[in-house]
Symmetry: C2
Subunit: 425 residues, 2 copies
């Protein structure tokens, strides 16, 4: 699938050239219009498509879909149907909404049930996340953090070039864009102190990541190989792995991050499928040393996805503080998933696997405040003149992701969340 | 609740003195008799009680319980009803099965629906586990591992006496007693090698743990304090945190254990409630230094639970290799849960929080092969004459837990699982 081919799909629903959601995208999400019932949705331009309404009106009668598959609080059951069904659904959507198809376009009564302006819908968590894993796959990020904490000579740990290092995170506190979080409290060891103290984190940070969402996998004990891994990936979202650096620093030895992370992670509401991203495939960085056979991949196994992070202080304009790209990641998703299951670990529909902070080669492409302000030694100046070493109370962090090539744009929209002051108890 | 009071509860169902399941226990589990439908159950002696049958016959009409609450694949919905309802259920069960109550005892038609021999039932996973956390709360275990890897002087990490160190684990691969697991494959760095290799783990280990299962908690952002923490704990199981030491050793820096653990963890099928354990409350070890205020607890906050581990080679008798006790743990469950939520992390019904390996003060009370055979330097000799540094293929590991005092016994039964050879692919 080339850019030219993808561009040729155009809809009778209006889409501006700057929209992340041309017909070819067809993201999936869950929306509520009344805070009570929720339904699966897709989106073209600024128009939301109620998939349950569409299904109820018979538009998917050619596909083997349960009646209530889109009338649920999450997409998990749809994801469980598997990639073959997802592709049938996608093909049918391209047909229904293609500019020459009048079936829905010319049926005013149907249109009224199926379409609505996106601004009238509240987007909910698109999936229930049974298990969440966070990788650490950016060489630039691992190197930056390594230099800060262990010096330039020992920046990368000995295992880093051999395995896509990862760890388990907390699934319960993953929230959708628009849900604000309180600054976490916890135990920290202040610099030069010998005894820890308890209080609100003083080093609130974001981490610019993307996450993929899996389908059901194989039975416990069986592995998924790199060459089949993409068949088990449903789609991707933008992921803000909020981090309280002072809590993390004191707690993480020897078993890894815990309360410095699990107070919340934020995701963008629309899942973009791998099929939609297909025209933007590209190569990963060369891997040297060559990984062990079970981690080797062939061909272009990553995507050219432009990323940016902005900080918006209360009552001020947002300032972009980072521009990065998903393609910088050293380990690709097929390698991550093959590694995760090589010991027989089982995966389920809705599992979320985040990339780790996506830092690029230049200082303005670093994906966290820890790196951008280099441990607080180089504060950033925002457009309102204020400075930041870390995130302040009432700051909103906005992450966006999109692909763009030869005048064709397709994207993820954004994930946005405000850090509220710590709860006083 | 004293031992004497608990002892006075006796049932018209026969219970031997050596049984883990006197009337006072009333554990909860999920069973299947036909591999298709599953129901909630309790147990007295060797008799299984079908709770859905009991409910359908009207025995719980005094309690506000949904009709199908016990006709489900997990106990999660029952757990979500909260501790007040659980206590009503327990009081009613003590009544129905008390020796002087003839309502069920004398109704042959009802008995036929409600009771069956436990050996006819297959016990299933009692809960769906939304999130799983593993603590590291045994001072003896942390010290042993510390001595092995960092020497006696630096055995305990600086944070260990200040926080109940923990990390997130994989929920999807937690299996019930009786489910066997294949030896995991993965990447390891052999001793003195400079390049990693791929293959089956050569250092398969168990970890003797117990886990508590939570009720629903508070909304994201709010903490659970130590003094209210036990109101959010439904009950406990025995937990085998299988560990592949060679995989773990190579991967765990800096983000903690991952594939060395997530190929599987095994639990005992019956959940024992805190109410049943009440007569066996006891004090935890004295904590010095005193923890920060948010981690302090009053009174007896742990339980005297005797633990043992046996290894059974194929076609041989089991050999007991470890005897330990839950009360050795330095950090109690109220402290673990208060710490876990102090940053606002939310918990849900069915979440599982394991204790970490429960090692005691003596060499025969260490809770893992790593410690018992001291990194392979002191192999154990089993009763069949064979020796073990770690777990061999086709070894079955059996963990048991029970409380016993003044001639009154109450326990958990066992968790048993066999390590099958690695899958050849």
């Amino acid at each position: 699938m080339t850019i030219q081919q993808a561009k040729e799909y155009s809809s009778w629903i209006e889409v501006s050239n700057s929209s992340d959601f041309p017909l070819f995208n067809l993201p999936l999400g869950i929306y509520s219009s009344d805070n009570e019932s929720s339904y699966a949705a897709s989106r073209i331009g600024d128009t939301l498509i109620d998939l349950h309404a569409l299904h109820s009106l018979g538009y998917f009668s050619s596909i083997d879909l349960p009646d209530m598959i889109f009338a649920q609080e999450t997409l998990n059951d749809f994801i469980s149907l598997g990639k073959a069904t997802h592709r049938e659904w996608r093909a049918r959507m391209l047909e229904i909404f293609g500019k020459d198809c009048g079936d829905l376009r010319d049926n005013a009564a149907h249109l009224e049930h199926v379409l609505m302006p996106v601004e009238k819908a509240e987007m909910m968590m698109p999936v229930f996340v049974p298990d969440y894993t966070d990788f650490y796959s950016s060489r630039e990020h691992a190197t930056n953090v390594g230099i800060m904490f262990r010096g330039k000579e020992n920046a990368l740990m000995p295992n880093w070039l051999h395995i896509p290092v990862g760890y388990h995170g907390r699934a319960s506190s993953i929230v959708v864009s628009g849900v604000d979080l309180h600054r976490p409290k916890g135990q920290q060891l202040p610099n030069d102190a010998t005894e820890p103290v308890y209080g609100p984190s003083k080093m609130m940070d974001f981490e610019l990541e993307m996450a993929f969402i899996t389908t059901d996998g194989k039975p416990l004990g069986q592995r998924i190989k790199t060459e089949e891994a993409e068949d088990y990936i449903f789609g991707m979202v933008v992921f803000n792995d909020w981090s309280a650096r002072d809590i993390q620093k004191w707690e993480y030895v020897p078993l890894g991050p815990f309360l410095g992370k699990n107070f919340g992670s934020s995701i963008s509401p629309w899942i973009i499928t791998l099929e939609a991203l297909e025209p933007f495939r590209c190569a990963s960085p060369t891997q040297d040393p060559q990984p062990l056979a079970y981690l080797q991949t062939q061909g272009e196994r990553t995507f050219d996805i432009q990323l940016e992070v902005a900080i918006q202080p209360e009552n001020a304009e947002p300032s972009t503080v980072c521009r990065s790209n998903f393609k910088y990641l050293y380990w690709n998703m097929a390698q991550q998933l093959a590694h995760h299951t090589v010991n027989g670990c089982n995966i389920n529909a809705g599992d979320m696997m985040a990339s780790g902070t996506i830092s690029g080669p230049t200082e303005d492409s670093f994906g966290s405040m820890l790196e951008l302000a280099w441990k607080g030694t180089k504060p950033l100046t925002l457009t309102d003149g204020s400075t930041r070493k870390f995130i302040h109370d009432n700051d909103t962090v906005i992450m966006k992701a999109h692909c763009e090539k030869d005048g064709f744009r397709l994207g993820f929209g954004e994930v946005r969340s405000t850090i509220l002051p710590a709860i006083n108890d």
